[in-house]
Amino acid sequence: MIRIQDVNIKLGQFHLRDIELVIKEHEFFILMGPTGAGKTVLLEAIAGLIPVTSGTIALGGRNVTRLPPEKRNVGIVYQDFCLFPHLTVEENITFGVKYHPIDREKARSRFDRLVELLDLSHLLRRLPINLSGGENQRVALARSLMVAPQVLLLDEPLSALDPRFREEIRHGLKELHRNSNITFLMVTHDFAEALSLADRAAVMNDGQIWQTGTVNEIFEKPRSTFVADFVGMKNLFPSSFCDTRACIEGLEIELERQPANSKGYIAIRPEDIVLSRKQLVSSMRNVFTGIIKRITDMGLYYEVAVEINNITFTSIITKRSLFELNLREGLTVNLAFKTTAVHDF
């Protein structure tokens, strides 16, 4: 378990403020946020590589705030692998063994298990420079797991990899987590990674934690405009609430229930908005008519911006439906979404 209480870190111009975080035993926790949010700083503080200015960090009930990194039993895996270039794969993996009281037999069997699990047996004699990105990262994982850390910190372990290897390592991470009792704390700026890997997550920005919760909670119920925007809720509008309706620019949007406040924001995911040419016959209570302002090719899908009363809604549709509906800019379309798709805060 990782318990971070009221941690502040001053690092030149950068300031990590009032960090409170509890990560449960054997959890796969993800720390998200844009570049420069302070995710790596927090990670390195947990590993003991950056001193905290105030506050405490406890691992498994043990206060480690003032302990040097080698006494914390925390593994760290970086984005750029950081394998020791002068050592072979095998020497890299076994680097930490001599600092830990593991008997020879046990070390051997752990080594064999990791090599098998991460498919490294054919690489053991090679130097890191002769490995691919995915292979490098697998070695880095094996190296950190070889000393059986209590906590494994992963600093964007997938972002330096080709998409092909990324899938492979992502799968490997899941597998490793399931097969061990190690707590995983991973940093990423990619929300999709969080969705596929984590149980719970926290969103950081500007040296602070903005929201902590299950991944679904963050995905569906952001509590701030920053988090809403970060998780891809492209339709984000300030609005006033009356009864179970939100009013924006004369538009009345039906909500699932009455919000607590009279003013706030509503947020709708673009994939929850359905477009149609004909009047839609469905149970959806929010149906509007607007004009297509812009169609953007996003590669695998299209983003369609529809204007209603000076408000622009963004919807995502597949290439196929774009052609089937025969959508063009300037066309009048119907736009519909469920009341449950509208998140207010």
Partner: protein, 261 residues
Amino acid sequence: MFKKELFFWITISSGVVILAFILIPLVEMMTAPSMDMLVKTFNDKDVMRSIWLSIYTAGLAALISFIFGTPFAYLLARTDFTGKRLVESIIDLPIVIPHPVVGIAILSVAGKNHWIGQIMSELGIRIMGSVTGIVTVLVFVGLPFYVNAAKNGFESISPRLENVSRSLGASIFGTFFRVTFPLAWRSMLIGIIMCSARAISEFGAVVIVAYHPMIAPVMLYERFEGYGLRYSQPVAMWLVSICLILFLALRVLTLRSKKDI
């Protein structure tokens, strides 16, 4: 590519001029002495003793620079602090100070009128006219070359490698000897070569602190003053040859091991 244009020919010709400027005098000096003279000089005990003293004191200076310079270079490479620029400029000072001034400066603290000089004389350490004095001066002029080379070497190693090593359980010392040193030793060796090369060529500072015992450049100067060009050339020839062989040997050692990384 700027081939065939005027600019190209300017770059080429300036290169030729520079190479000629460096090589012609050196080749001339090396080839001027007759075989007979060379053999005679080689058998001259004074000459060989001075060359040996030069190599020995320069090596000692490099060793001292290595011992004291390595931790300091590491500190400079890994930390950032206010006034770091100033500290770095102080390190570079011996490079820019005129050489005789270095000798004068060393003597001014080593003399009886200075408390450091008094302590040293009580301990029986003599700077003026001693091997200790020569080594002191050579460390002074050679140290910046070692510190800078080692610092560059350390800077080129990602601190994250050291972070990973610590997280795997290695102490700071363990990390330095198992990760940092194996990756930086080549830069350190280059630093040692540069430092000793600089030390071997020192004349101005040494001649003020210690005319005797005579290091090779001082001997060279004495032969030139007393007997003329013809008698100083063979000494120069032997000094340069022996140094070249030593440095070449060191370089070959470094180049050979470059293959395995």
